[in-house]
């Protein structure tokens, strides 16, 4: 029996889709069967980030409206079998998906897959409700900016009302080390303190992420880039491993900071 995790943020453009693609890839690299679901009906792009756009024949709306079987709509990843994507529809709007339909799809996928990662649309309307309805857990993505922290806070409030197995966990994305040091960006500590939920990972703002997503190849495939390691660490933490937070720079003094974060999570 698998586990459904929704990736959400409230605000748009903080990296939900990138996070979904990369966590999914990283989990699949660890030999877990993973299915990614794009619930952003009308504005799909998870398939683009995964480089699977050309292979779409059926989508999630077709499944819900019973024009095809769930298995027919799933796209196997071109790189390895452990990863599948259920794409969103591009032609319908968000009202085409119902909460019952979503629940049914996720329940069916859980039989087959270890992890179902749901990419949530921005906003808090019906699309958000559809995305979270079948999820067991939630990961909230934010950037160290006031506006996105504010929206993340709102989303956490809404998620807490849902009866999920666990409280939501936090990913801080797009960290720019030099700005954080100079005090021009919110610090990780500050963000965690305001949102007061567990931190599951931090990801630095890396040019490689953009390059990789343009190529349709999630950055998590690359073994050495910092962002890739960050996503792999998040995947390991999802699996229950204890992994210290990545140091933001290479100086030795940072080790203490890392230890501090680590201690906070334990």
């Amino acid at each position: 029996m698998g586990e459904a995790i929704v990736i959400t943020s409230g605000k748009g453009g903080v990296g939900k889709t990138t996070t979904t693609a990369n966590i999914g890839t990283a989990l699949a690299l660890m030999d877990k069967k993973v299915c990614l679901i794009d619930t952003d009906i009308g504005l799909r792009n998870l398939d683009v980030v995964m480089g699977l756009e050309n292979r779409i024949i059926y989508d999630i709306v077709d499944v819900i409206e019973e024009r095809c079987k769930l298995k027919q709509a799933l796209i196997k990843d071109k790189r390895f079998d452990y990863l599948s994507v259920l794409p969103a529809a591009q032609t319908s709007d968000k009202s085409a998906v119902t909460t019952e339909g979503m629940k049914k799809i996720i329940a069916e996928l859980k039989q087959e897959y270890d992890y179902i990662i749901i990419d949530c649309p921005a906003g808090i309307e019906q699309g958000f409700q559809n995305a979270i309805v079948g999820a067991d857990k939630a990961i909230v993505v934010t950037t160290p900016e006031k506006s996105s922290v504010r929206d993340a806070d709102r989303i956490i409030g809404l998620l807490e009302k849902e009866e999920m197995a666990e409280p939501p966990r936090l990913v801080i994305n797009r960290i720019r080390n030099h700005m954080m040091k100079s005090g021009d960006m919110l610090e990780i500590d500050e963000v965690v303190q305001v949102l007061s939920i567990d931190l599951v990972g931090i990801v630095i703002d890396d040019d490689e992420v953009i390059k990789a997503s343009n190529k349709g190849e999630p950055v998590a495939f690359q073994p050495t880039t910092k962002a890739s390691i960050a996503y792999r660490n998040i995947a390991r933490r999802i699996l229950g491993e204890t992994v210290p937070l990545q140091s933001l720079d290479t100086e030795k003094g940072m080790m203490q900071k890392v230890k501090k974060f680590f201690g906070m999570r334990a």
């Binding site: 504010r150 956490i156 305001v194």
Partner: protein, 229 residues
């Protein structure tokens, strides 16, 4: 027969006006009948000032209609005016209302952006109020946590209400009909402070918690709550 002779209505003149004791063992109809009689007998003359009357009911409870009836009998046409109607009994409902208005409600949660926490009485929040979150109370607000959102104390108009927090960096403080907001520049916030209305300056001020001990002495007393209730 004995009852007939017993005085159901006793009047006492004081310097503030007239005090009416209505016997609480007879029926309301009898009392009203006798009262009507008495009022007509003793009504002030046209040139005399209108007399204020305090009505003491003892352990009698009056419905709204009965109070209305009473008011008509001791009404303006008889040149009386009712100052107060006092009864030793209260209805369960009213007593509960008093209680909820005077209680301190302890709540343990985080009030996040977009959430509103509204309580009757005083609010004791164990947790933060995040930016965009709002807490509202008819009484005082005590926050053991960080206040970064909006707090509104004394929402029904109690200007004596105040807001205390372990860490104060609110976007707005509101007390009764007063509103103050954070400055436009980035502020660091302060620890262990409280916001209250300064009558002289006619605005909300933020000061150390210690000032409460002489500015708001009443919080130590239970009566404040009953009176406000």
């Amino acid at each position: 027969m004995v009852q007939e002779k017993k005085q159901l209505i006793t009047m006492k003149g004081t310097k503030d006006g007239l005090t009416l004791f209505i016997d609480d063992t007879c029926s309301f109809e009898k009392a009203i009948f006798e009262l009507d009689h008495k009022m007509k007998e003793s009504r002030p003359k046209q040139d005399e000032p209108i007399v204020a009357v305090r009505v003491k009911l003892g352990t009698r409870y009056l419905h709204d209609e009965q109070i209305e009836q009473l008011k008509q009998v001791i009404g303006a046409k008889n040149r009386f005016t009712i100052h107060s109607i006092e009864s030793d009994v209260v209805r369960r409902e009213e007593a509960r209302m008093w209680q909820t208005n005077s209680e301190v409600k302890a709540i343990n949660r985080i009030v996040r952006s977009g959430q509103v926490l509204h309580v009757t009485g005083d609010l004791l929040l164990l947790g933060d109020v995040n930016p965009g979150g709002k807490v509202i109370a008819t009484g005082n607000i005590y926050i053991m946590g960080n206040l970064r959102g909006i707090a509104h104390a004394g929402i029904d108009g109690d200007r004596e209400a105040f807001i205390a927090a372990s860490f104060m960096n609110p976007s707005q403080l509101r007390i009764a009909d007063y509103i103050s907001r954070a400055p436009d520049y980035e502020s660091d916030g302060v620890y262990m402070e409280c916001g209250l209305v300064d009558e002289e300056k006619d605005k909300i001020i933020i000061d150390r918690l210690q000032v409460l001990s002489h500015r708001r002495k009443e919080i130590n007393r239970f009566e404040r709550r009953i009176q406000n209730g």
